[in-house]
């Protein structure tokens, strides 16, 4: 470039204004860096140039952007080893030292490696970020000797800074996206290992935490227990645990403060018991406490490998700590919500239990009172020699009925209690529905049966006996409520959005199969709809009226849902949704 042209650029505010505008407005980091490189080649009067980005994990430079003459596909794909030694390339040297290098005559240069025949001089400037780390190298070449002077050096440095700013913005955008995604994952979070794991994956990938583990405090043992991990610890979820205060992780919990160390194994607090990486490879360690509403919930920790390249320190920065603390905050809110939900469910169940005990005591008491009355009468008649055969038969019959009623109450009570204790196995839902229908549908009936089972229904994880009990109960209800014929439809299918809106918000994203029992009996009166699943709600004089509440208990325990959506007067329509996932049949599935 002649000096007029150069001065022209300096004098032309539009040049830098254009570049800074691009950096600020463009969504594409590739577009920005390519443009900056092309400008660099032009304003420095170079024949060609390239921009290489540092790969910190591998200690390599990735030639990602090229401009000017003579580039072949092979040269474009070149990767350069970072090195400060002589004879390893000027770009490598600049990446390692983080300092500008101007080779006025490449023939005599100790670092230069020949790559193009026409090169006489070369200028390389590093892209340095706010933590003084080299992010990349901007390189321009000329076929003239001493082509680049102090002005070109300054110009190239300024352009390299723009490139560094663009990289920083891009990284911030990436982090923002990751945080938003984590927020989304945690929204409506109920209690799924899968989601916890996903959050860690997003955090680790987008935020360049190589390994990431989540420890939560177990209230029973007061230990930090591993709940999710990305690294080698994945196989020890639920087993690996630290005492509060033990190791760096335990220290974080005890002090409820973040820890950030660059050489953790030399830290006196280091215990090194459960590592995602071999101890010798751990380069940087950071852990933040997860603070819930009522104190500490757990610890979120991340590690980075030791960098084999001394010019690329792998420490965590203030930015990294802020991000991790933000994620920990989001996790805390989500986990707090889960805990509140759990408590609510427990409280509800406890209330149901109280009601249940009072009601059954009352019912049993009255039955026993009536039986005692019969026995009293029987005794009196025997004593007064007035017991005729007819009287005796009537009284024993009444006693027997009373005892049967007691046994029915006892049975329902037992089923209500056991509804939530599941014995899970993989089952074919269609098969079970078929069996239940065969058992529950009377052989000689005026009612027509319409059985529609979906083909290729995914297998689910369920307690077959309990589920069959549900289907039989619904079948029996349908049959009993339309004694004079009509039609009962039983269908299985994959649940669609219309059914899924009946699920709790946190469950709606899951995959569900559905079973529907439809009849054209009297249906359920609008005012009774909210009550039909309550214990003791009954329109039949049998047992305690626990039937549908037992069904609901069983379905809830399967993490599914049941609802009634028939039209009063036209028939009842009961639908059961049950989740299916590959991961549901784990033996450690909670029994609530």
């Amino acid at each position: 470039m002649n000096s007029d042209e150069y001065n022209g650029i300096i004098a032309d505010p539009a040049f830098f204004a254009g570049i800074s505008r691009l950096v600020v407005t463009s969504d594409s980091i590739d577009e920005v860096l390519q443009t900056i490189l092309e400008h660099s080649v032009r304003v420095c009067g170079a024949v060609r140039g390239f921009l290489a980005i540092v790969d910190h994990d591998r200690g390599e430079l990735d030639v990602r952007y090229t401009a000017g003459e003579g580039w072949s596909e092979e040269k474009r794909l070149d990767r350069l080893k970072v090195s400060e030694e002589t004879g390893r390339g000027i770009t490598s040297h600049v990446a390692a030292t983080g300092k500008l290098y101007n080779a006025e005559c490449v023939d005599n240069d100790p670092y230069y490696i020949k790559s193009f025949d026409d090169v006489r001089s070369e200028l390389a400037v590093p892209l340095i970020d706010s933590h003084k780390r080299t992010r990349g190298v901007l390189n321009v070449e000329s076929s003239k000797l001493s082509a680049f002077g102090a002005d070109e050096e300054r110009l190239a440095s300024a352009l390299a800074d723009f490139a560094a700013i663009a990289l920083k913005i891009s990284r911030h955008r990436q982090r923002e996206k990751a945080l938003v995604q984590i927020g989304k994952e945690l929204h409506g979070f109920t209690d799924s290992q899968v989601i916890l794991q996903k959050v860690l994956d997003v955090a680790a990938e987008a935020l360049k935490f190589e390994d990431c583990s989540l420890f939560l405090i177990d209230r029973a043992t007061d230990k930090l227990v591993l709940r999710a991990s990305r690294g080698a610890l994945k196989t020890r979820i639920g087993q690996a645990s630290y005492d509060i205060g033990e190791g760096l992780t335990g220290w974080t919990a005890k002090q409820a403060a973040a820890v950030r160390v660059s050489d953790p194994s030399s830290d006196p607090r280091w215990a090194g018991r459960f590592q995602e990486l071999p101890t010798k490879d751990v380069g940087a360690y950071m852990a933040v406490p997860i603070q819930g509403r009522s104190g500490l919930i757990g610890v979120l920790r991340v590690q980075r490998k030791k960098s084999p390249y001394k010019w690329f320190p792998n420490d965590f920065t203030d930015d990294d700590e802020r991000i991790l603390t933000t994620i920990a905050g989001q996790l805390a809110v989500a986990l707090d919500n889960v805990r509140l939900m759990d408590q609510l469910v427990k409280t509800e169940r406890l209330a149901a239990w109280g009601e249940m005990s009072a009601r059954s005591a009352h019912m049993i008491g009255n039955r026993v009172f009536a039986i005692k009355g019969d026995v009293n009468e029987l005794e009196y008649m025997i004593q007064s020699n007035s017991l005729g055969e007819g009287e005796a038969r009537k009284l024993t019959e009444s006693i027997k009925n009373g005892i049967f009623l007691l046994e029915e109450i006892l049975n329902e009570f037992r089923e209500f209690v056991k509804a939530t204790q599941l014995d899970l196995e993989e089952v074919d839902l269609n098969e079970m529905v078929r069996e239940a229908v065969e058992e529950g549908f009377p052989k000689r009936s005026q009612t027509r049966l319409n059985l529609k089972l979906a083909e290729k229904l995914p297998r689910i994880c369920a307690d077959p006996k309990k589920l069959k009990r549900c289907f039989c109960e619904l079948m029996e209800n349908s049959v009993n409520f339309q004694p004079d014929g009509g039609e009962i439809s039983v269908t299985t299918s994959i649940a669609d959005a219309r059914s899924k809106k009946w699920l709790k918000p946190g469950q709606q994203a899951g995959r569900y199969v559905q079973v529907r029992f439809e009849d054209n009996g009297p249906g359920i009166r609008q005012e009774n709809k909210p009550k039909i699943f309550n214990p003791f709600f009954t329109s039949r004089a049998k047992g305690m009226g626990l039937g549908l509440s037992i069904v609901k208990g069983i379905i809830d325990a399967h993490e599914g849902t049941i609802f009634e959506s028939g039209t009063p007067g036209k028939g009842a329509k009961f639908t059961i949704l049950l989740p299916y996932e590959e991961s549901v049949c784990k033996s450690d599935r909670k029994r609530k």
Binding site: G365, N366, F369, A370, K372, G373
Partner: protein, 144 residues
């Protein structure tokens, strides 16, 4: 003949009590709700001598409401409250307000029907004594 009203929402309970009391020679009416019981107390004449009522029917204090109705209909009507085993607080409250006694429906090892029969007899005696006293007072005040 003495007239008794039995109020309980369980048919089996009503029938058993009625049968046992009829054996003792009483005339027994039954009512299956608090409201029906109160209506019978207010309309049937002469007033019932003794009312036997379940404590908990429509509400946990059904017994108290029946007591109030009975006493305002005839101040000397005796009331026996039937109550669930171990749940006597409200029944005791009834006694404080003038009920004759309470009988727990399910006392282990006790034939409550005999107990009830006995209590009923005692209640009738108290009623009789009250009426005798009343008559004497009336005579005394007339004589003056």
């Amino acid at each position: 003949m003495c007239r008794i009203l039995v109020i309980d929402d369980e048919e089996a309970v009503r029938n058993a009590v009625k049968r046992r009391l009829e054996r003792d020679g009483y005339k027994v009416d039954t009512a299956e709700t608090q409201a029906a019981g109160i209506e019978a107390i207010q309309t049937k004449r002469p007033p019932y001598d003794v009312v036997v009522t379940d404590m908990v029917m429509e509400s946990p204090t059904s017994g108290l409401e029946v007591l109030q109705a009975a006493l305002s209909s005839d101040i000397f009507t005796e009331l026996i409250v039937l109550t669930a085993y171990g749940n006597v607080a409200n029944a005791v409250e009834c006694m404080k307000r003038g009920a004759f006694d309470y009988v727990e429906k399910n006392i282990p090892g006790v034939d409550v029907f005999e107990l009830l029969s006995m209590k009923l007899q005692q209640a009738l005696e108290r009623r009789k004594a009250s009426l005798v006293t009343l008559r004497r007072i009336e005579q005394y005040t007339k004589g003056k």
